[in-house]
């Protein structure tokens, strides 16, 4: 074969000699041609070239050949390991499935949490030197954080030396009338120089100029969001310079602001200059103020200076009396120390889960490794080096880990969108939680680390695989006790999770059976937004009335009405009332109530029962006291018999408030939350209190078609320029009320399933391992006359004992945690016996099963085999 086996030195010597011979032959020929010998030799040498260089060429050639073969050889060995690994896995598909599932759960959780925490907590804020950016807030006399007034902002900017620049943001609902269909949007206000201070540049166009940001008369220029730029302006540069109509005012689009600004302006689609003025009421607090620290200032110095300016403001202006101010690094105010801590806790928890998964898989592998001791012994005897065997075992582990990683990425792909949806609006930057390259690289690192952690156990066990005599003797090594403890802990933890899921599920079921007091089926709902900027207070009552009239003309619509409380949006309006004939002398004696502004058709459109009196009628307004409808709960609070309320008089707000006449009593409406008992409620006519944001409800004849188009047309007819958002079935509102409990069930259920699987795998692996360890003992017992059934029962009983220890811990933890859970429960007690018994039964049965399956192997032990193998 190759001469590489021979010593390299000898090889070089031979080459040198060969080349000398070459030159000698050439010299011989030249000599025959007539040259003297010495001249011929010199010429031959000159012709030949440098023997050293040729030697190096040959050496290089030799190395090229050898590297080629060693790479191929390593590759061949790897392929062989791989083939063997796959063969081994095919031989025990159940084992492989359990291992991959376990690792997939652990890695999936870790990857999901990692990308989530990375996006929300760990990623730096997208500003220039974000650690120098702070948020400035006012402090109320009670010491609570509060928004800032325009004069205060201007004084801080003018007086403070601790800031390089100060910027202010405000937000408000608005109507975008053109281009395109009218839409309700959020409008942001920003002072000139704010983007520059943050180190952000416009995506297109420019930012505001200082002269456009003049007090009280800001120029009609606007920056638009990237999403608005794409949806309304096609993402073209020609958008810059075009005009748009916002709140009935024409604006010139001068730029597109970058996505990063969302951290300050939230959902705002259009941003216009703030035009802060010292003349604005100091009592109006609505600004969010951020600043960049001046180079030589630290957070503490800047805060001291701000405090002293606030002290001057407190002394100078009566509105600011006893107020103060403070500042926090922008990171803390946007993300918050609580979120940061929660992020780290989540990371630690998912890391723990991954370690658990690794421990379980390693005990599975150990159980298997002990059954393979003989195979390894034979292979060692046949000359396979220990390194080779170790490599093969690690390759098998790596195959399992690769499967687990693939499954884990799949889990993360499913879990991340769900998590983003659930957290949207609650945490900044959740939308950035995606599976990108850095996260996948970290996942790869995790997988490699996991492989080394769980894959090293069988390799260490290999030390006992001596040629031909392959048997392990020792039992009860310290590792076993630790593993038992971990398995018991897993059983306990899965009891807690299972119990929580059971309770939340039963709570969800009883919640979805609650009668909300109205009929959601067969009705549609539309939100009508009429912001101050676009419609005056006086216009709105007539506007809504005409919309309702026009909607009722749509074929298929039976009745329509509007309410100021969008069902299950969670927002409510509150006030106080009292009986006119028992008027308390102080406001504190008044009855707190929720109130709604509605149109006359509302009760019928919602299909609510009238318990006494009547609903509103057209023409109720006009003479004397205002008519009101109250619900049964308010009637019951104020009168002995609810029916007595009709025709009586109430007082609105305070002893001098307006007088109201009760015309009817209706069934209570559960439309704030399904879980809580409805609060006493009073209904007033929208024409008297023309609320700006209303929900129109239309009851539709079953089977009617074309309703959404009809609604759009009717609204556009009656109120040109009013945005018409989504038209949804009223049932969608009810569904929204169930969304959070449903999410809780699914989330905790996911954890419970994962926990249960982990616990079962752990118990299974441990039992299989220990049974294998005790083959000898079992064999001896069998040969002494024990029946296989007895041995099996003994093993299962022992495992159940271990599980019971875990369950006891789980019960204690659950009793402690149940109190905390009871806030989330509806219609089921935290100590619900059915749920507790169910969860305990599930765990006892499944842990029994997880012990019973591997115990079968013990009963197949033949006493003779055990003794023969001695």
């Amino acid at each position: 074969m190759t001469p590489g086996r021979r010593s390299r030195h000898r090889e070089r010597e031979e080459l040198r000699e060969e080349m000398e011979s070459h030159m000698a032959h050439r010299a011989d020929e030249l000599q025959r041609g007539g040259l003297p010998r010495d001249e011929a030799e010199a010429r031959a040498r000159a012709e030949f070239g440098d023997p050293e260089r040729i030697g190096r060429e040959v050496e290089r050639e030799r190395r090229r050949v050898e590297v080629g073969t060693s790479v191929t050889r390593a590759f061949d060995a790897f392929r062989q390991d791989l083939t063997q690994g796959f063969r081994q896995i095919r031989r025990e598909p159940g084992f492989a499935a359990v291992a991959v599932l376990t690792l997939g759960l652990g890695l999936g959780a870790a990857i999901t949490i990692l990308s989530f925490v990375q996006a929300v907590v760990l990623a730096p804020l997208p500003f220039h030197e974000p650690e120098r950016v702070v948020e400035l807030e006012m402090l109320t006399p009670e010491g609570a954080d509060f928004s800032v007034s325009e004069p205060a902002f201007l004084e801080w900017r003018a007086r403070a030396e601790g800031f390089e620049d100060v910027a202010a943001v405000a937000m408000q609902g608005a109507t975008l009338q053109a281009p395109g269909l009218p839409a309700s949007i959020v409008r942001g206000y920003l002072n000139a120089g704010a983007l520059e201070m943050l180190g952000l540049a416009p995506v297109e166009g420019r930012t505001f100029r200082p002269e456009e940001d003049r007090p009280a008369q800001a120029a009609p220029v606007a920056l638009i969001s990237e999403s608005l730029w794409r949806s309304r302006f096609g993402g073209e540069a020609t958008a810059i310079g075009t005009r748009m109509e916002l709140d009935r005012t024409s604006f010139e689009v001068v730029g597109v602001f970058p996505r990063e600004l969302e951290l300050l302006v939230g959902d705002a689609e259009v941003v216009t200059p703030l035009g802060a003025s010292p003349a604005v009421d100091r009592g109006d607090h609505y600004l969010t103020v951020v600043a960049r620290l001046a180079p030589q200032f630290g957070v503490e110095e800047a805060r001291d200076e701000l405090r002293s300016i606030a002290a001057w403001q407190s002394d100078t202006y009566v509105e600011d009396r006893d107020w103060s101010a403070t500042l926090t690094p922008i990171r803390d105010s946007l993300i918050g120390p609580a979120t940061t801590r929660a992020g780290w806790v989540l990371l630690a928890a998912s890391g723990l889960l991954l370690v658990m998964a690794c421990v379980n898989v390693s005990s599975l592998l150990l159980a298997r490794a002990s059954t393979r001791t003989e195979e390894m012994g034979v292979r060692a005897a046949l000359g396979a080096g220990r390194g080779r065997l170790a490599r093969q075992l690690l390759t098998e582990s790596a195959i399992l880990a690769a499967g687990g990683a693939a499954l884990g990425v799949g889990v993360a792909l499913l879990a991340l969108p769900a998590l983003r949806d659930a957290m949207a609006g609650q945490l900044p930057r959740v939308q950035d939680a995606v599976l990108d390259l850095p996260i996948l690289l970290q996942a790869l690192a995790l997988t490699v680390a996991a492989t080394l952690v769980f894959g090293s156990a069988p390799v260490l066990a290999l030390r006992r695989a001596r040629p031909l005599v392959g048997r392990s003797r020792s039992r009860g090594r310290p590792g076993t006790r630790l593993r038992r403890g971990l398995v018991a802990a897993q059983v306990g933890a899965s009891l807690v999770l299972l119990l929580g899921t059971g309770l939340l599920f039963r709570s969800f079921v009883s919640l979805s059976r609650v009668d909300p007091g109205f009929e959601a089926e067969g009705a549609v709902a539309v939100r009508l937004r009429m912001p101050d900027g676009s419609w005056a207070w006086q216009e709105r009552g007539a506007l809504v009335a005409s919309i309702v009239d026009r909607v009722e003309e749509i074929p298929g619509v039976l009745r329509a009405g509007a309410t100021s409380t969008d069902p299950f949006s969670g927002s409510t309006l509150a006030n106080f009332v009292a009986r006119a004939d028992r008027l308390p002398d102080r406001a504190s004696g008044f009855q707190p109530v929720y109130w709604r502004a509605v149109t006359p058709g509302f009760f019928e459109a919602m299909d609510m029962r009238i318990l006494g009196g009547r609903a509103f009628e057209e023409g109720d307004l006009g003479g004397g006291d205002s008519p009101v409808v109250i619900d049964e709960r308010l009637a019951a609070r104020l009168w002995e018999r609810p029916g007595d309320a009709v025709g009586r008089t109430l007082v609105w707000g305070d002893p001098d408030g307006s007088r109201l006449t009760v015309v009817g009593v209706v069934e209570p409406l559960r439309d704030v939350t399904l879980a809580a008992e409805p609060e006493p409620t009073i209904y007033r006519l929208h024409q008297e209190i023309p609320w700006a944001v209303m929900t129109l409800v239309a009851r539709v004849r079953p089977g009617a078609t074309g309703i959404p188009a009809g609604l759009r047309e009717a609204i556009a007819d009656a109120a040109p320029g009013l945005p018409v958002p989504e038209i949804q079935p009223l049932a969608a509102n009810v569904d929204r009320a169930l969304a959070e409990p449903r999410f809780n069930v699914v989330l905790l259920g996911g954890f419970a399933a994962a926990g249960l699987i982990l616990a079962l795998v752990g118990l299974y692996g441990l039992t299989a391992f220990e049974v294998r360890q005790r083959f000898r003992e079992i064999g001896i017992r069998l040969s002494l006359g024990a029946r296989p059934e007895e041995i099996r029962r003994h093993i299962v009983r022992e495992r159940l004992g271990l599980a019971l220890v875990g369950l006891a811990g789980g019960v204690l933890a659950s009793l402690f945690l149940a109190r905390w859970l009871s806030d989330l429960l509806y219609g089921v007690a935290a100590t619900d016996p059915l749920t507790w018994l169910g969860a305990l039964a599930v765990l006892v049965l499944t842990t029994g099963l997880a012990a019973w399956i591997p115990s079968r192997r013990a009963t197949r032990v033949q006493p003779r085999d055990v003794l023969n193998s001695e």
Partner: protein
């Protein structure tokens, strides 16, 4: 005719060809290539010895020390049966290559 250096890759083929008859040592191989090509092809010693090493590593030639016609010690190379098979395959490959290149060069330019 000017002398031409050998194209890379063809040297192995020519070395194998010079060994089809008797075994030869390095100097003889270089001479044979020069002679058989009517003195057109010039073998660099700096390329010849790495090539010989390569052919030996592939198992296409064997080497053995012996005594030359000038009564000097020299390493003689001999074609193995694998080397003979490789030569046949390379020869055919070369013929097709030459034919293809010739066809392109002789073709009438279209258009």
């Amino acid at each position: 005719m000017t002398k031409m250096d050998l194209m890379q890759g063809t040297l192995d083929l020519l070395v194998l060809r010079t060994l089809t008859g008797e075994s030869r040592h390095g100097y003889q191989i270089a001479r044979a290539i020069k002679r058989l090509s009517s003195e057109v092809l010039q073998v660099e010693e700096g390329a010849l010895y790495p090539a010989l090493h390569r052919l030996r590593a592939r198992g296409w030639v064997d080497a053995e020390w012996g005594t030359s016609e000038n009564n000097r010690r020299a390493r003689f190379y001999r074609l193995t049966s694998e080397g003979r098979a490789a030569l046949e395959a390379e020869r055919e490959h070369w013929a097709r290559y030459v034919a293809a290149v010739g066809q392109v060069l002789d073709a009438e330019e279209a258009g």
